[in-house]
Symmetry: C2
Subunit: 342 residues, 2 copies
DNA sequence: TTGTAGGCGTTATCAA
DNA sequence: TTGATAACGCCTACAA
């Protein structure tokens, strides 16, 4: 069933069929009805490739993420896909994993799909060496690249990030003020956002007049057990009275550690985790967590992207130059639950 | 940069360029090198639409899911997308939500993208009234439809499901044998898989000689708090000594209920949840859960699909008729953790 | 309001 | 081993 079949069956030209399916207004009611009836009868669906070929855009956005089974990214994908579809855009997804070569391959693949833009979800696409991100910078010359929770300073690359640093600083200060003088920070990733969080912890400590050398920062693997074990070793070395973790997963690990040690939460030990995902609520006791405003991040990303892709036009039909900031920052919000006293 | 630009720059015809990029063997080494050099220099990526138009397949699978932020579905997407890409297929994702009209719209959209096949992830696509699934049955006339964790009896529709019923039956019996004589079942969805689970609970009860009228089955909303509240009310009415839930989310709700009531787990109350997702481990105490073998479900689905899409050929080049079962069932596995005594 | 014809970037089929 | 050239299905001037 293609446009010729329909036009033949309806006894009109393909141009008329095209007009009908595209909702043009210069079609007689009679023709429209004839065509629509045939389409309904035969169940015709226009071929998107041919359409894309014809007009140079498929209204499709390429979304890359390292791992869609990660709760954070799974949510991001959901928000992005839904929001984009509301705006008439489809999403083609590529879960790249964490290996640079695979990321590059994924990017190529989306390019070959002629996506109108790229959305890179998660901070894992910002490599430590800028040159490793050259493929992104080059790609951006053709189509806009939107970074959700990451920042790369390049032409046509736009970032929306959460103020991770501020969120962490805030959490640290709140813990300190509520009586925890011996705070430990556990993290598991050196990504861009990972670095920002450490900066935040340091800033908090500074604000509380804790010399940086007294600050306890340890790194583990992102698994409940590894984090729990690590904390246990650390506690044996020297006790602490509050834990900040770089993720909810690690927060759960902290809870498991405390339960095993028989420490009362939040009386003897306060815990603040990061991301405020479903995991924070699933934990018992429920975790106080820094909300990184993912939904807002995603919706801002889409909004900016729509502006870029569909520039407004003035009365004379000239497109008005769009003003999309290269960098948008959303403030984090501390969500208080059962693992803190404040 | 299109194939003409490359051919011009390389001083060969577009046919030669096409051969090179498709790895045909009837190209001279000299020509291949010339073309490759130009491609590397200019960074050409073939246009996938035109390709799709030309050969009638884009090597793309349409994946529908109701909600990619659901942990179960997020995992499914990850497994599916990764596995498909390994086989040279890309995925276009459509998160449809739970509304029938949106599901239909999503299906149409994927059709217009000329996907080579559909994968419908999750049991939410099997409607209660068969006629509501007509759009799937019709769609299957054109391209194979693979159901992950759902079953529809129709031509060219293939299902891979977990033996939810058996898993539940097993769980029930294990609880009963370990001393819980008063077991309650909490569920939250009437989907196909939801019904299977109830059947399993009933079968377990029957095996334990519990008359069906004595069986306690209650329905709530899939949220920690609602489930916890519901259980609390039910407990006030008449205590029970074991809970089976239809999901890990509800299992977490059950834990919260027990903690609030001060019931010791597993001494006074045993809990078995369903799905064995990350939530089961995140819970404290960790949930014993029925593993529904999602990864295996997904990998079997992809394997079958690849067989359908790429039928083997015999020595004479005739395609051998493929034998893919319309229905594949994978056995569930009970994973024991801290909320049970057995 | 309608129809004709050229173009979009590939692939594939012939000849050469 | 190469190179023309006709599909592929649609959109969009332009002409009628």
């Amino acid at each position: 069933m293609n446009i010729y079949d329909i036009s033949k069956a309806a006894g009109v030209s393909i141009a008329s069929v095209s007009r009908v399916i595209n909702g043009a207004d210069n079609v007689s009611e009679k023709t429209r009805k004839k065509v629509m009836d045939i389409i309904d009868e035969y169940g015709y669906t226009p071929n998107a490739y041919a359409r894309g070929l014809g007009r140079g855009s498929m209204k499709t956005i390429g979304i890359m993420c390292s791992d869609s089974s990660d709760i954070y990214l799974a949510n991001a994908i959901y928000y992005l896909e839904t929001e984009l579809r509301k705006n008439g855009y489809n999403s083609i997804l590529c879960c790249t994993g964490y290996d640079l070569e695979n990321k590059k391959a994924g990017f190529e693949l989306l390019k070959s799909r002629q996506v109108d833009a790229f959305i890179l979800a998660g901070s894992k696409f910002v490599e430590k060496k800028l040159e490793d991100d050259q493929y992104i910078i080059d790609g951006a010359k053709e189509h806009p690249v939107m970074l959700v929770n990451g920042f790369i300073d390049a032409d046509n690359v736009y970032s929306t990030t959460c103020d991770d640093k501020g969120g962490m600083k805030d959490a640290f200060i709140k813990l300190y003020e509520s009586g925890s003088k011996n705070i430990i920070y556990v993290y598991s990733s050196d990504s861009y956002s990972g670095m920002q969080k450490i900066e935040g912890v340091k800033a908090g400590a500074k604000k509380c007049n804790i010399p940086e050398k007294n600050l306890r920062i340890i790194k583990g693997h992102k698994s409940y057990y590894d984090i729990a074990r690590l904390l246990d070793e650390e506690y044996a070395r020297e006790p602490f009275d509050a834990i900040i973790t770089s993720s909810d997963t690690s927060g759960v690990g902290a809870v498991k550690f405390a339960v095993k040690r028989g420490l009362r939460i939040p009386e003897e030990l306060q815990i603040v985790s990061f991301n405020n995902s479903k995991l924070a609520e699933a934990s018992t006791p429920e975790l106080t967590s820094v909300d990184t405003m993912l939904q807002e991040l995603c919706s801002k990303t889409c909004k900016s992207l729509m502006k870029l892709l569909n520039p407004e036009v003035d009365a004379d039909g000239n497109s008005i130059p769009v003003s999309v900031p290269k960098r948008t920052i959303v403030k984090a919000k501390l969500v208080k639950r059962e693992t803190t006293r404040f």
